[in-house]
Every structure is written in structure tokens, then in C-alpha cells.
Symmetry: C2
Subunit: 209 residues, 2 copies
């Protein structure tokens, strides 16, 4: 098991010229590619650098260590999901609670399914890199957005929006994990999603008076 818990400190150097930010992007992309193609067990910094078309040295110019590299990847991914959720929230203020639920489900699942293999691989990585902390940060913002959203629902609520958001997010996560871990996520997406909608709707109906 890796020694990946080092304080993923400061990037060694921050891009100034254009070529260097190009390198950073290439490296992050390459990391994802290596992750999905050979798996996290065989992901080495050298291999990532090679795939990115740079040398290891360059990689270490922007990421203090392997852990930081993986964390950066995670962060990018989670920010995408968070972004999708925040957008959905923004677009459904003052809607009915059920519509909100539906919108969240679509936004979340679509974001995760955008790149199934990457999502699955990153789940695996997250526990090696204190992903919990990163998830908490990104998750916190999404949750906030969802709570605020629920608070604007047309219907009066019977309980704290926090509680509702918490439950919905937990269910969302559970289904999404099941989906990603299943044999063929793409094939099951629709039926899973439909069932999730049924479930969340049923729950949300208990939250309006």
C-alpha cells in the first residue's frame, strides 16, 4: 500500500508561460488515462509523464508528489460534478420539490456517467489520498446548494431541508456507486435512474405537508 498520505503541499511552481500550463493539463489528463487504462496499481509517475509527453522531472515541477497529483485529479472530477449540481440547483429554484429531485438525479448521474471508467477509477483512488477530505470540501458546497434549493420549494416542507438534502444525497451516492460497480453501467443507467426517481419522489412526497 502506498505512502500517499503525505501533506499534498504547495505546487512546486505555478505556470507562468503558456507551455507550462499546457504541461499541467496534459499531465492531469494523462493521469486519468493511465488510471483508466492500466489501473491505479500500475500508475507510476514515470508512466504518467510518458503518456503526457513530458519527463518525470516536469511532472514534479508542478506536483510535489504522486499523492498531490492524484488529489488534483480527484478535485477536477469532483468540481465537475459539483458544477453540474450547482447549475441544476440554480435552474430549479422555486420549482416543486419533486421536480427538484428529478433534476438533481439527472444532473448527478449524467455528470458521473460522462466518463464511467474515470469515475470508477477515481472512487478507488480516493481512499489512497485522503479523498474523504476533498470529497467533504466539494460535497459541502453541493450540499449547501441543495439545501438552499429545497428551501425555495413551492410546497411547505415538513422537515429541515438539511435532513432532506442529506437523505437525497445519500441515496444518490448509493445508486451511483451501484451503477458504477455494475458490469455495464451504460446499460443499466436508465432502469436504475428510473428506480431512483421513484424512490426519491416517494421520499420527497413525505416531506411536503
Amino acid at each position: 500500500m502506498p505512502t500517499l498520505l503525505k501533506p499534498a503541499l504547495k505546487p512546486r511552481k505555478t505556470p507562468i508561460q503558456a507551455r507550462s500550463s499546457a504541461s499541467v493539463d496534459a499531465i492531469l489528463q494523462a493521469t486519468l488515462q493511465v488510471l483508466t487504462s492500466v489501473g491505479k496499481e500500475r500508475l507510476t509517475t514515470t508512466r504518467v509523464a510518458a503518456r503526457a509527453g513530458v519527463s518525470v522531472g516536469t511532472l514534479y515541477q508542478y506536483f510535489p508528489n504522486k499523492s498531490a497529483l492524484l488529489q488534483a485529479c480527484l478535485r477536477v472530477h469532483m468540481d465537475q460534478v459539483r458544477g453540474a449540481i450547482e447549475t441544476a440547483c440554480a435552474q430549479h429554484r422555486s420549482a416543486s420539490l419533486l421536480d427538484m429531485g428529478t433534476a438533481l438525479i439527472f444532473a448527478y448521474l449524467d455528470a458521473k456517467m460522462q466518463n464511467v471508467k474515470a469515475s470508477a477509477a477515481l472512487y478507488a483512488v480516493s481512499s489512497d489520498v485522503d479523498g474523504a477530505a476533498i470529497a467533504k470540501a466539494a460535497g459541502q458546497r453541493s450540499r449547501r446548494a441543495i439545501v438552499d434549493l429545497f428551501a425555495t420549494a413551492k410546497e411547505p416542507l415538513t422537515k429541515d431541508p438539511e435532513v432532506i438534502a442529506n437523505a437525497v444525497v445519500s441515496a444518490l451516492n448509493g445508486f451511483s456507486r451501484s451503477l458504477l460497480e455494475s458490469k455495464s453501467p451504460e446499460l443499466q443507467l436508465e432502469s436504475m435512474r428510473d428506480e431512483l426517481i421513484v424512490l426519491v419522489h416517494a421520499y420527497l412526497r413525505t416531506c411536503v405537508r
Copy 2:
């Protein structure tokens, strides 16, 4: 990141005398202890052996490699959970669907909360050791049991028990993960569980005609 995906093959030796099975038990327990006390990153075979009061050599007599050791731990844990679920299933045949839901929730959460730190640590380990495969094996049996259980429900169902079981299990997993990853699982257990019951009940009601 570890090279832990080796074919976790045959146990090198199988216990014959009493002392050796005692060693095996001690080693498995020690693994869990080390896991929860210093974390998977610092779990070394030597450290586990020390904690178990044996030498590394002994450890390697029963587990072909580190990966196999961790897998064995996972298996034990999952079997416990599976056992709890199967018992609950056996005790609630022909009950009402809602009662079944409640029973499953209690059984599952209680089993997981039995040893919170261990459960959380094992979640983290599982992705290093092809936990998915092990989970699939244990999960398959539980799922079977749940499907069979639902099929005996007093009420007529509106959809395939497989689908229902799948949804319930996904929700269960999602909530349980949220719980385990939260700051103080013990404190939140009750409220989370209550909300989960509300959610599952609401869902199950849509499954009876």
C-alpha cells in the same frame, strides 16, 4: 500505490494443530487492529505480525501475501454482515413489505456499526484488493436472500423483487457510507436510520398494489 493485485492464491498451509489456527485468528484480528489504529498506509506485514505476537514468517505461512491477508479480513467482515442480513431475512418471511424493510435496515446498520472504525477502514482497503469481487460474492448471496424474502411478502408486488431489492440495497449502502464517513457515526446513527426508514418505507409503499 501498492502492488496488491496479485492473485491472492492458496493459503500456504492450512492449520492442523490447534496453535496454528490460533495464530491465524490472532493475525486476522491484528490486521484489523493495525488497520484501525495506524491506517492502511502504515499497515505492514511485519507490524501485523508483531501485533499478533508472531513473526512475519508465521504470517506468510498462512497468507501467501499481503493482499491475501487483507482480502481474508474483508471476507470475514462481509460474511458477518451477510450473516446478519440472512438471519433477518429468515425471521421475516411472509411479513409485510414495510416490516421487511425495517428489519433489513436494522440488521444491516447494526452489523456495520458493530465496529465502526473497522468498517470504515475496510471500505478504504477494499479498493486495493479487488474488494469489488469479494463484495460481489458476499453481496450476491445477501441479495438473493433479500429477493427471496420480498417474494414472500404478504402484499402483492407491483414489480420484480429483484428490482426492489436492488433499490433497497443501493439506498442502504449509500446511507451506511454517509454514516461511516461522517464525523461521529454513533451520534448520527439514530437520526440517519430513522430517515432511511422513512425513505425505504415510502419507496416500498409504491411497490405494493
